[in-house]
């Protein structure tokens, strides 16, 4: 009976988190819809031209449904959304879902690879710095981390292109692969992809590496000062084992909470990186959609990014719910 009650309570906790995310998501989509309709700019503007017949503009606007009231447009939007229909892109004249399917996989894999690189590199630096405390890397990182973090993605990208592509000729300037990609064998394809994506990944990952490093570094220092760690070391446990098995796991928990935020930052960074390196992702598509007021496509892109970021936050919340005792207690008291 006690077990059943606990299970029921747990499910209620999970469902309450889930519904709060659904509500957040609905608010996000509705806000975007309303803001787009309120903002100046006309999606049918390209049909206003001295070279074109003025009636064409009216017909196109009507076919976009923009002659209807905002309320009617919103009702249709929500109705279609429930049917999984994002509408047709004004620019490309193809279903928005098709555009998303073409671009989203790249951005997701690009962002995930970058995310893994951020975690892996920052962890490696942490281990290295811990092993060689007070060395040049730790000192210089402490001094220049703020500078590296504040560097705009555009500047980093352009600097990397200038040094490694233009001056040294080590990496291609842009694109996800070479024009003759299809003719390459599997190793060549792999090498080609690595060659093309190295600079974009570095551009996108650099700020994240600094964030993770700073967070972990601070957390590790705080954990190392805790009594149980001091106790273990005083009792002769191997320092490296204590570090790997106790300090790191206890320091990494707070990092989970910034996972969702970091994914949001990654998607934001992907917009610039994809545009700069000519990569075929969601970020570049979003920029084009915004500049041309392609309402269905903007909402489709926001929908996708929103799901991505909120899902990451939701998973992070579930993780914390399972592992964070204080949070669990808070839920119990609700």
């Amino acid at each position: 009976m006690g077990n059943k009650l606990r299970l029921k309570k747990k499910w209620i906790e999970i469902l309450s988190i889930f519904f709060s995310y659904v509500l957040t998501f609905w608010l996000l989509i509705s806000m975007i819809f309303i803001l787009l309709r309120l903002s100046p700019g006309d999606p049918a503007l390209k049909y206003l031209s001295p070279q074109l017949n003025s009636h064409l503009y009216d017909y196109v606007k009507s076919s976009y449904g923009l002659d209807k009231s905002v309320f009617e447009q919103y009702y249709l939007f929500i109705y279609n959304l429930f049917r999984g229909d994002f509408g047709i892109s004004y620019n490309y004249r193809v279903p928005v879902s098709t555009m998303l399917m073409e671009t989203a996989p790249f951005t997701i894999s690009f962002s995930l690879v970058s995310f893994l690189m951020q975690v892996a590199i920052s962890m490696w630096i942490i281990f290295y710095v811990h092993k060689h405390k007070g060395n040049w890397l730790e000192k210089s990182l402490n001094k220049i981390s703020l500078f590296l973090y504040s560097l705009p993605t555009m500047t980093v990208g352009l600097a990397l292109i200038f040094i490694f592509s233009l001056q040294l000729g080590l990496f291609p300037l842009a694109d996800v692969h070479s024009t003759n990609f299809e003719e390459l064998n599997i190793f060549q394809k792999l090498f080609d992809l690595v060659k093309h994506l190295t600079l974009p990944i570095i551009t996108l990952s650099l700020p994240g590496i600094i964030i993770f490093y700073n967070y972990l570094h601070g957390n590790i220092e705080a954990t190392e000062k805790k009594s149980f760690i001091k106790f273990m070391i005083a009792n002769g446990f191997d320092k490296n084992i204590v570090f790997k098995k106790h300090v790191i796991p206890n320091s990494i928990n707070p990092l989970i909470s910034i996972l969702g935020t970091e994914l949001g930052i990654l998607l934001g960074g992907a917009v610039i990186t994809e545009t700069l390196f000519g990569l075929p992702g969601l970020g570049r598509l979003t920029v084009t959609a915004i500049l041309t007021r392609d309402y269905p496509l903007i909402i489709g892109c926001v929908f996708f990014s929103g799901v991505f970021v909120l899902a990451a936050n939701f998973l992070a919340d579930l993780y914390k719910l399972k592992h964070d005792i204080q949070l669990r207690e808070n839920f119990k008291n609700l």
Binding site: D42, L45, L56, T103, I161, T179, G278, R284
Partner: protein, 546 residues
């Protein structure tokens, strides 16, 4: 041992990868860098010049065009037509089709395909870019072409087009790409915009779509059955979208792309000096102007109406702006001063007696004083009846030339005693407001249509001239523009256009700033690239690789 094994494995992997990497073979491939996305290649819906030019590589028209530099006007030549015979008064044309043009299904191109295409272009439900522009045709009430009155099929390879009488007809009236009826008739007309028919078929052009990654690139591959297919034709053309100018320039320098347009004036010399690029100028198609609300009654958002109603005031403003310095300093002479909207490339109709207004600050001040504007309170700015001469100058942000020009105008007019407040707006917002005539003064530009068509820009009837944003009105100018629509002897036409230039130069409905050259950079490995006022991406089947 473990470490050695790991190192060995890593070395092997790197060796395999390095040995397997290969250089790109570009001996039969040309990459063109484009700034803007290609949204469609369906000839019915191509809106930008680049989209239209690429789609014409897929679907040929009855005629093509070239530029005659000697005459200073476009010329036409038959493409899918084998002969074009006009009647005496040019009210009808007899067209014979080539009998060697076949569609992908093996059937010949027929008059049916031509008429079907024209019907699609003019159909309201299709919403083609050409809808409502068949001014010389017999039309139905919904502006679609009256097929019965217009077309007369003599045999499957021969037909006649009958135009409205006394109209100024030319080959431009029937130069649209011809579409395969057997494919396009399968799609409901209102769904044609969403159809991917053009991606899965080859037209009559020498290229077909091989691969199209939206927002990334379009790959065209040479076909063997077109009338323009040849052994020397470049096998693969890639149109790559690179929105960022710096990236585009880097890629050009690094041989990743072979051709790109709109090179900034400051980069032209540097590229030319490298020796591996040919720089060509596409002149006389675009100009920038300072728009002024000439008819104050139509000003929607300003309390100070009537500021620019007087042509003398507009003339004074023109004379107070040092346009030459902008051409020299920002455009680095990749442009020229202008006096009216008839580009110098139309040399046959150019009025050489109409010259750009000179920069003369003293004369400008004298004109303003004579119009009652004086600095009565010695604050450095002119005033009249207690109102200061000041206005807001709107311009689209993100355009370095216009941002620079706006600042120069502000400084120049300050010297003349006019206060200018600069307002940079996001382009979509700017152009929406501009077309809605919500500005009192704005900085924008027009692209000149070929053949020369002034009516949509300068006629006083807003329905006929959506481009007349400044609400310019001149009775004689309207008369001339109406007359130019009709069939006229060449000398009369030329005289009328010259008169129009004189009128518009005197009236200064806008301050005509300068013609802007489009600098095109071409990798020297590419030959036979003709850059004419008509286009850069044209007749690509004639391009060759050294």
């Amino acid at each position: 041992m473990k470490v050695i094994l790991n190192n060995l494995l890593c070395t092997c992997l790197i060796l395999v990868i390095c040995l397997s990497c290969s250089k790109e073979d570009k001996s039969d491939l040309v990459v063109v860098g484009l700034e803007n996305e290609i949204q469609t290649l369906n000839p019915l819906y191509t809106m930008s010049e680049v989209e239209a030019n690429i789609s014409e590589l897929l679907f040929l028209g009855l005629v093509g065009h070239d530029w005659d530099y000697e005459k200073g006007e476009p010329t036409s030549f038959p493409v899918l037509a084998s002969s074009i015979v006009w009647n005496n008064d040019s009210s009808s044309v007899l067209i014979s089709l080539r009998n060697d043009v076949k569609w992908e299904n093996g059937k010949n191109l027929t008059a049916d395909d031509v008429i079907f295409s024209f019907d699609l272009y003019s159909d309201k439900s299709v919403q083609s870019r050409f809808y409502g522009t068949f001014y010389n045709y017999y039309l139905n009430k919904d502006l679609s072409i009256d097929l019965k009155k217009t077309f007369e099929i003599i045999n499957p390879q021969k037909f006649r087009i009958n135009f409205l009488p006394h109209r100024n007809t030319s080959c431009y009236d029937f130069d649209f790409p011809i579409l395969p009826k057997y494919l396009f008739e399968k799609v409901h007309r209102s769904d044609l915009a969403l159809s991917d028919t053009i991606s899965i078929t080859s037209g009559t052009g020498p290229y077909k779509i091989k691969e199209w990654k939206k927002n990334q690139y379009v790959k065209l591959i040479a076909t063997s059955k077109s009338i323009y297919s040849s052994a020397t034709q470049i096998k693969e053309l890639i149109f790559k979208i690179i929105p960022d100018y710096t990236s585009r320039l880097y890629q050009l320098k690094n041989n990743n792309i072979d051709l790109t347009e709109f090179i900034k004036p400051e980069d032209v010399e540097n590229l030319a000096s490298q020796g591996k690029f040919v720089l060509k100028q596409r002149t006389g198609r675009e100009y920038d102007y300072l728009g002024l609300r000439t008819n104050s009654a139509e000003t929607k958002n300003s309390a100070k109406t009537g500021l620019f109603d007087s042509p003398r005031i507009r003339k004074a403003i023109s004379m107070a702006i040092n346009r030459e310095s902008i051409v020299q300093e920002h455009l680095r002479n990749k442009g020229s001063l202008m006096s009216n909207p008839v580009a110098p490339i139309f040399s046959s109709v150019q009025n050489k007696n109409v010259n750009p207004l000179p920069f003369d600050l003293n004369e400008a001040k004298l004109i303003l004083n004579s119009e009652g504007w004086n600095d009565s309170n010695n604050d450095g700015y002119l005033d009249k009846n207690g109102n200061m001469f000041s206005f807001a100058l709107n311009f689209p942000s993100g355009n370095p030339l216009r941002e620079y020009t706006a600042i120069r105008i502000q400084n120049n007019l300050k010297a003349a005693g006019i206060k200018v407040e600069l307002k940079g707006l996001e382009p979509t917002v700017f152009f929406e407001k501009m077309f809605n005539k919500q500005f009192e003064a704005w900085l924008a530009g027009w692209s000149i249509p070929v053949p020369l068509n002034l009516k949509p820009y300068w006629h006083s009837d807003p329905k006929l001239a959506p481009g007349n944003i400044s609400s310019y009105k001149n009775k004689r100018a309207d008369e001339i523009l109406n007359l130019l629509d009709s069939r006229l002897p060449n000398n009369v036409r030329t005289t009328l256009i010259k008169e129009f230039q004189k009128i518009i130069s005197e009236d200064q409905p806008v301050v005509f700033l300068f013609w802007i050259d489009n600098s095109v950079a071409i990798n020297s490995r590419l030959r036979n690239v003709k850059v004419t006022p008509l286009a850069t991406i044209q007749k690509c089947w004639e391009w060759e690789i050294n």
